[in-house]
């Protein structure tokens, strides 16, 4: 062990990189070790087929914290965002709904299905933003600790509570309901048109093993509105060059501040003795010593894989073992010869945002039912983007990349997860057939296709059970319970070992919060 580092970060996902950048900026000697040949983890761009660069996993950015963009000077290091223009929902009868960034156009579109809904739609957006404003402080600070008797903590909690109460009774009622209702029930209270409700409700189920009628999905919709109020860029957007653009900018910033980053450097295990982390052992046998070890991998991989149960208190290990992953989504990335021909729409304006295959609430619920009993959805919910229209750098001239996020594809299919390789192409076919029905002729335009099942996400991207958020974002796995009661503040029961990935508060998505908040905790009284 020649060199000693202040901190070694395991995993070059965007959170690991963010954490490293903050530590380096504070003058610490930092090393990032990434198993794969590219950086970014689930926020990655790869040239999967010659000339076609895909956002292989995550595909749109919304919640990347503006203060992180500022602190790490990400714009200077190449981060460029392109806003989504619209949200398009094709229907089986050849009709479609398109919600535009222009409210007036949206009103006209919705009123074809319901005049009443068209009038209420902007009001709904305002109401949700209002509530997102109240929920937002939660994603910008470490989790509150209800078990603490520390007066400062209690004051913080009270402040949150006050924030909650700082509203008319009507608002309060709505807020309370939002946390317990299903997305579909909640939308039923506002709107009548299924065509509108279905694509809206899906923002409550992304990455969860829940249906739009499952209680507790309504508040997840808030996330959709949180990006909107940041003001840094309009709600959802593409990163130029794919979502890897975000990770690459963070990596450039980290390097600028002095961090060293290595790829093809898989960590075999965390070196522990006497309940204390002392460094890491690489797959090639090298041992690297560090004062602090930070894991950007998910909690199961970190604690049961890299650390090992024997180093952990029993109670904590049990909590990690029952932390729920059960991935529910897959990804199909397609290289296209031409744009998909959705009937009734000319040009490509309607394709410059996201396309939601969500033709009805019952359709979505049936898709969920398939998954509940151990199969992928025969007719799934698909969220499609075609970033090459607005970012020509990712495809050869005239050609396109099509990214399809698909739900549901349960990790635990009834044949057993290890049988996914045999089911993979059938799953890909179900996705293509579904799109073909809405855009006849689409299949003829396919040049190449990459299908990622949750099994593949686990193998290739280190996402346990293919969960895209490092563990479900259900209420019992959030805030002071993420990833375990008593250990929600990036510290772990192993001394000098930290958790900075999406399995820590506030959770998954291209946010950067866990990484940044972990670094801040380490620097701020954390002994570094």
């Amino acid at each position: 062990m020649a060199e000693t580092w202040d901190a070694i970060v395991v995993g070059g996902g965007h959170n690991g990189l963010t954490c490293a950048a903050y530590l380096a900026k504070a003058g610490k000697k930092v090393l990032v070790l990434e198993r794969r040949h590219v950086l970014g983890g689930a926020a990655v761009s790869e040239e999967v087929f010659p000339g076609f660069t895909f956002s292989v996993c995550s595909y749109v950015v919304s919640l990347l914290r503006p203060w992180i963009i500022r602190d790490l000077e990400l714009s200077r290091f190449g981060l460029e965002m392109i806003p989504l223009e619209c949200s398009f929902s094709p229907l089986p009868d050849g009709d479609s709904l398109c919600r535009w960034s222009d409210p007036e156009r949206t009103r006209t579109e919705i009123s074809r299905f319901s005049r009443r809904d068209a009038e209420l739609y902007p009001e709904f957006g305002l109401a949700m933003m209002q509530m997102a404003r109240f929920a937002k402080p939660v994603i910008d600070a470490p989790a509150p600790d209800p078990a603490s008797l520390n007066p400062r903590e209690l004051i913080e909690l009270l402040k949150l509570g006050r924030h909650f109460q700082d509203a008319e009774r009507d608002d309060l009622a709505v807020r309370l309901k939002l946390f317990t209702m299903s997305a579909a029930d909640y939308l039923d209270e506002w709107f009548e048109s299924d065509v509108l409700k279905a694509p809206m409700s899906v923002s409550g189920i992304i990455g969860t093993f829940q249906g739009v009628r499952s209680p507790g999905t309504a508040y997840v919709m808030l996330h959709h509105y949180m990006g909107e109020i940041d003001g840094a860029f309009r709600s959802w957007g593409f990163a130029k060059g794919g979502t890897g653009g975000v990770s690459n900018a963070i990596a450039a910033s980290a390097r600028h501040f002095g961090a060293e980053i290595r790829t093809n450097a898989a960590v075999e295990r965390v070196l522990c003795s006497g309940g204390t982390a002392r460094g890491v052992v690489l797959a090639n046998g090298d041992e690297l010593a560090a004062r602090e070890v930070v894991s950007g991998c998910d909690p199961r991989l970190t604690f049961l894989g890299l650390v090992g149960r024997e180093e952990l208190p029993d109670d904590f290990a049990t909590q990690i073992e029952r932390f729920k992953f059960r991935g529910s989504s897959g990804k199909v990335n397609i290289a296209l010869d031409r744009l998909p021909p959705f009937p009734g729409r000319e040009g490509d304006l309607h394709l410059r945002g996201d396309i939601a295959v969500a033709p009805g609430v019952e359709y979505l619920e049936r898709a969920f039912d398939d998954a509940k009993y151990g199969d992928f959805s025969r007719r799934p919910y698909i969220n499609i983007v075609l970033p090459s229209i607005v970012d020509p750098s990712v495809a050869p001239p005239g050609k396109h990349v099509m990214s399809c996020f698909v739900q549901y594809a349960p990790y635990d299919i009834k044949e057993g997860p290890e049988r996914w390789p045999e089911r993979r192409e059938a799953f890909g076919d179900a996705v293509c057939d579904t799109i073909e029905e809405l855009a006849p002729g689409f299949k003829d335009s396919i040049l190449h296709r990459q299908v990622l099942s949750p099994w593949d996400l686990e193998r290739e991207y280190g996402l346990t059970e293919g969960n895209i958020f490092h563990g479900e974002l259900s209420l019992e796995q959030l805030a002071f319970l993420r990833p375990a009661a008593g250990w929600a503040r990036y510290r772990t029961p192993v001394k000098h070992l930290w958790l900075c990935g999406s399995g820590a508060h506030p959770g998954g998505g291209i946010m950067g919060s866990p990484g940044a908040l972990c670094a801040k905790t380490m620097l701020n009284g954390g002994g570094l």
């Binding site: 209800p146 009774r169 009622a173 507790g216 259900s474």
Partner: protein
């Protein structure tokens, strides 16, 4: 002139009336039908076969809350529950050790620990069930103090237990059961009672909270069943001078200048009072019994949004012989549940979602002795109020057939002893008892419709924004499955 009119002579109405009379008020109960007791009132389904009310179980009755009434009721431990749908089954007793005797050693162990956890938490849950919900929009100092006390009780559990309770409460029952038990039937038997009349399956978030409520509330039941509780309440009302009028259907609750001043009966008679206490469900009270022009907008919206999707059919069988359960090993059976595993419960909820009848429904069954044999009361889960294609006689008979088939699997030979059967679909329940949506509990028991949100924030503490109008029915905290609670707490709030 009465001080207070109670609309509806079901359990909650009678309870409210008895407490109000005890507090010195002159009370008049107005009941539409010819009998008191609402869904708990018994009736004859065939000559010689007197059945209890369709609400056949009152083990959730708030005994402590009712205690001041000094009811003439003998309370007993409920009979054990047989969970079986064929030759194999298991018994769930009140007594932990007896339940454990029928389980695998791993499950016996896990069950012991699970029950111990519930017992530690139950006092806190019961405290919530048996107290008026807090004012949370604009709490007074005293109310803040009360909330703090509940908070402190929670803290006294110790950090580990407290965090565990906060973790479990919003969870899906299936996940909790999978963490603990290996027997699918045990899981199903524990979860099923909490799902009764909900529209969700065991995978739904929040079903653990429903389980916690059920388990903590489960107590003793009146000897003689629900009817005995009704009789005791009626006797208490009479002795306290309550005027009990049957055949008196309330057409309208009268409002003058935004204030409730009495009611108008179906026959045209008006009855005046300074207080009107509605023991009907929330939606019926607001949307059917109050002139829509006079109804404040916030109440109209809340009543329309009130979720009350009926999910149960009640099937009563008149049998010449008591049923013989294949898995009972010759033991007498009073309570049975035919749930097999959590997948069956989930599929029943799926059917409900799409407005279909479940292929393979599960039953909550009670067996009662009758003069000429036995009456079996079955609650069939997963029967939608909004049936695809609508309800007609054929659909009603189909429900009856599926219920009999399912019961036949648990108790072979039942069909041969069948003398008569009486099937109430959610539509029939709605028509017969005036329960909106045909929902058993006066409205669903999702997290968003409990406690201070039951039935809505402005009415979460029994008072309503309409001066002089109070709610005391099953749509108020603690709700339908916990008889006596709403009636008693409402009366206490009125003072």
């Amino acid at each position: 002139m009465a001080d207070a009119i109670v609309v509806g002579g079901g359990l909650e109405g009678l309870t409210a009336a008895a407490f109000l009379a005890k507090a010195g008020r002159r009370v008049c109960v107005l009941e539409a039908s010819e009998t008191l007791g609402g869904v708990h009132a018994g009736s004859e389904i065939a000559p010689g076969f007197r059945a209890p009310g369709v609400a056949h179980d009152v083990a959730g009755a708030r005994r402590e809350v009712l205690a001041p009434l000094g009811l003439d009721v003998a309370w007993r431990d409920p009979a054990p529950l047989l969970v079986a749908d064929g030759d194999e089954g298991l018994w769930i007793h009140r007594d932990v050790a007896r339940t454990q005797a029928g389980l695998s050693s791993a499950d016996a162990d896990a069950y012991g620990r699970w029950r111990a956890t519930i017992e530690r938490w139950a006092p806190i849950v019961r405290r919530v069930l048996d107290e008026r919900p807090p004012e949370i929009a604009t709490p007074s100092i005293a109310e803040l103090w009360d909330l703090a006390r509940t908070g402190l009780a929670l803290r006294k559990l110790g950090e580990r237990d407290m965090l565990e309770l906060m973790r479990v409460a919003p969870m899906a029952a299936r996940d909790w059961m999978e963490e603990r038990f290996e027997s699918p039937r045990l899981a199903a038997g524990l979860v099923a009672p909490a799902l009764l009349a909900t529209t969700v399956g065991p995978r739904a978030a929040g079903t653990c909270a429903a389980m916690l409520l059920r388990e903590s509330a489960a107590g003793r039941e009146p000897e003689g069943g629900p009817a005995a509780l009704v009789d005791a309440l009626v006797a208490r009302c009479k002795s306290a001078g309550v005027e009990l009028r049957t055949g008196a259907a309330v057409e309208r609750i009268r409002l003058e200048e935004g204030r409730a001043t009495g009611v108008l009966l179906a026959g045209g008679e008006t009855v005046d009072a300074s207080l009107v206490v509605s023991a009907l469900d929330f939606a019926t009270t607001m949307l059917d019994r109050i002139d829509s022009v006079a109804l404040p907008l916030e109440l109209e919206q809340a009543a329309k949004a009130w979720k009350r999707r009926g999910a149960i059919a009640a099937v009563r069988l008149a049998l010449s012989e008591p049923p013989a359960f294949a898995a009972a090993g010759g033991e007498p059976v009073e309570r049975a549940c035919t749930a097999r595993d959590l997948v069956q419960l989930e599929r029943a909820a799926d059917a409900l979602k799409y407005g279909d009848l479940p292929e393979d429904p599960w039953l909550d069954a009670r067996v009662f002795p009758a003069e000429k044999g036995a009456v079996v009361s079955l609650l069939v889960h997963g029967v939608p109020r909004a049936l695809r294609g609508g309800w007609d006689d054929a659909a009603r008979e189909r429900v009856g057939d599926r219920a009999v088939d399912a019961f036949e699997r648990a108790a072979p030979g039942t069909g041969a002893n069948l003398v008569a059967r009486d099937v109430l679909t959610p539509v029939d329940v709605e028509a017969r008892f005036g329960l909106a949506g045909g929902h058993l509990f006066g409205g669903e028991l999702g997290l968003d419709q409990l406690w201070f949100q039951r039935p809505c924030l402005p009415c979460g503490r029994y008072a309503t924004p309409i001066e002089g109008l109070w709610l005391a029915g099953p749509s108020s905290h603690p709700g339908g499955p916990y008889p006596g609670g709403a009636g008693a707490l409402a009366a206490a709030a009125i003072g």
